[in-house]
Amino acid sequence: MGKTPGTIKKTSIAVTINGESHELEVKPWQTLLDMLREVLHLTGTKEGCGDGNCGACTVILDGREVNSCLVLAPEVDGSEILTIEGLSVQGVLDPIQRAFVDHGAIQCGFCSPGLILTTRAFLAENPHPTEPEIRVAIAGNLCRCTGYDKIVRAIMSLARP
């Protein structure tokens, strides 16, 4: 039998999350998702499938959206990460969050943090997208409740010049 999991040496990383610096001890196989949820208790990032197919765990890593279940924690040493908890400042909703709330784009809400962060990364690159462009941009984020209708409309409301 190999080593029991608890005895394997941890790695030290330094990472900035939502503007705060953290020095953390992470396990070599630990995912970024696990680090956020289990170590830092930033539970706004959700695990839907754990294998990169649903997008619920989306966070922004150095400006790009990633499925945090597919990134290993040791890889983010030296990076800047934005999670859903870092988006609203002093309790005021970010415009994307506001649009999702106002357009009824949130039902069960499990996909919402990932969708909101995907939208943020997408609009930063393409501030005036068309409806088909929006649909393709969020195709990596599954939602079972809304049929995407009000999500697309919320994003379109932000995309207008």
């Binding site: 706004g44 695990e47 709330v101 499990f110």
Partner: protein, 757 residues
Amino acid sequence: MSNSTKYIGKSVPRVEAADKATGRALYGADIHLPGMLYAQVVRSPHPHARIKSLDTGPALAIEGVKAAVTARDLPALTDIGRALGNEGAMGLEWFRRLVLAHDKVLFEGQAVAVVAATTPEIADAAAGAVAVEYETLPVIGDVLEAMRDDAPLLHEDLYTATLGEKPTRPSNIAAHQEVARGDVEKAFAEADFVLETTYKIQRVSHGYLETQAAVARAEPDGRVTVWTSTQGIFNAQRQICAALSLTQSLLTVVPMEVGGGFGGKTYAAVECLCIMLSRKAGRPVKLVVDKSDALRAAGAGAGAYATVKASATKEGRLTACSLQLVYDIGALPNSHAPGGMRSLGPYKADNLKIEARNVVTNKLAALMYRAPGSTQGNFAVESHMDAMALGLGIDPLTFRMINAVEEGDDDLLGTTFGPIGLKEVLNRVARHPTWTKPLRGRNRGRGLALGYYTGLVNTNSSVLLHVHRDGSVTVVTGHVDLTGTRTALRQIVAEELQVPLENVTVQSKDTSSAPYSDHTVGSRTLYTFSLAVHSACGEVLAQMKERAAGRLGVDPGTVRYSEGMFRAGRGKSKSISWQEITRLSVRQLGGPITAMGSATSNHPPCFAAHITDVEVDPETGKTRILRYTSFQDVGRALNPGLIEGQVQGAVVQGMGWALGEELMYDQGHLQNPNLFDYRMRTASDVPFIDNVLIEVPAPQNPYGFRSVAELPIVPVPAALANALFRATGARFNNLPMTPEKIFWALREGSPSSRRRL
């Protein structure tokens, strides 16, 4: 209720939306308690096997492993437990097998044991170390196979539940229901036109993004708290207490936000495992089900075979229709057939017959899935009615109009319809551009299908109102909020009490703090709790009028209330404000103002029609949905924005069922246990979903509300099949209508032979 309303009919945003948008909302997996252990389940790799030996010793020997549980740890059943446990759709004995396999495993992924350890990694290693020896048994993979006389028995003591003659020997048919009126065979023999077809509907997954998750903490004195993303805290409490012989007052079930349910979070199996482990380990225990395990073993939407035979006069009057349904309900008997019994609801022929069977197979249990049993029956019936109309050379909408039920007609179950909106729905379709404007272009087609649904019977909702000193109001509910319950309660209370919306807060509370409510299923929630909250608000106003009368020195019968003021007689001298009464109540007017409202009710019939335009790519067989419009009688729209969202979600879920989703099995082994191979619709697969809300008020509800949330999935597969027939010339009787099936249908069929497919 006057027609001018302030909050009813308004699309106010969901009260908890900001919490969800900021990541503050807490779901089952988001609870973290000091000293908490992590659980992992040992699951059967075999769909059918006898457990020859089971040893948790090697797991318990690993450092950090604190407890292990098997079916041997389930307590003996008590009479109280049996009575409690057999109330639901799935009997207690079967529910206990959903918790843990007993002496044999019945489906792939069934829990055989569960362990708890200090870290998830150690729990994984421990689950792998549990020693299980299996003797595999023949797998019953298909219902037709399961119904054969010589089929091996899944359960040696399963006798068909039926209203007819009790069977003398066990079989794989768990239930058999039959309803009929007139004489279908005679009508078929005499008819101008008869058509018979068998349809097949595949098994699907509920597709909630959040898998089952719970945390339990057992105290040394016997109290237990469980935090869970269940659809019903009181139903969970009942199941857990029955299965584990717990006293209900010792168990507190705390509702968490639910990351999608659709009927798939109605059995508290995960909660039982956490509680058993926590009691053994003396520490809190968390269990979060892996997505692949949820797809393999948590619950599915039933597959079915459906044979429809119908006859009509050449003028298009339906003379008879029979429907035979066989549901693949998986290994654990539970209820699906009742959903199928509604399948002919929209049609008023003299001769109708439905026969439905629930058949067990070595697959995970088919739990309730959004309008359970109904979508399956509807796909067959509505595809068939389309084919009947085409065969008779009658426009499909006209054919529906000729045969649609209306007020005063009886449904097949013997209920006489009161005011129903089917005619209004059809009339709106007839005038709407989505139907009247011709669809042009090659490989395109338009489809129509009707839908019918009624909610559950005899379910309860209760709410508690507290009016505070400052005049604001707290509403306490034990309803799990899946569909906007808190928002809807707030709107109704603000309307009834004529207080600002901001002054009403709705709190979802646990089984120890909230009055009883049944689970959030069966499109029952708004309809039933609106009855409860109506009565609670009436009680609050009665109390306050009495107190106002006391202060004003008048008879309580003379006090009127409007806009925050209680008045008696004429003029301002005889008036007292809402706030004045609430301020004085506790010390001077007899105590706090509080009221409970409770209602136990059935649900009204609801009808819909769906229209869709599709285009098929002949090179790939891929279907592009150009347009989709739902017409639904909602009775009265409390919150049109929330209704649209419900309908849009249900329609897209139905598009997945129609066009691609399928739990694919090989001899009981699931072949696609992940969201890459089990492909749900994405934003780029679907168009905007248009909504036409029709309001024919339900007479037994003070607001006129009808049920909304399940019906809009029901007609979707048939609407798409009917559109695809017109786009391709091929009739797809076998769901899902994948690009492969469409491609081959286009390839193999010359235009003339295609018509016969």
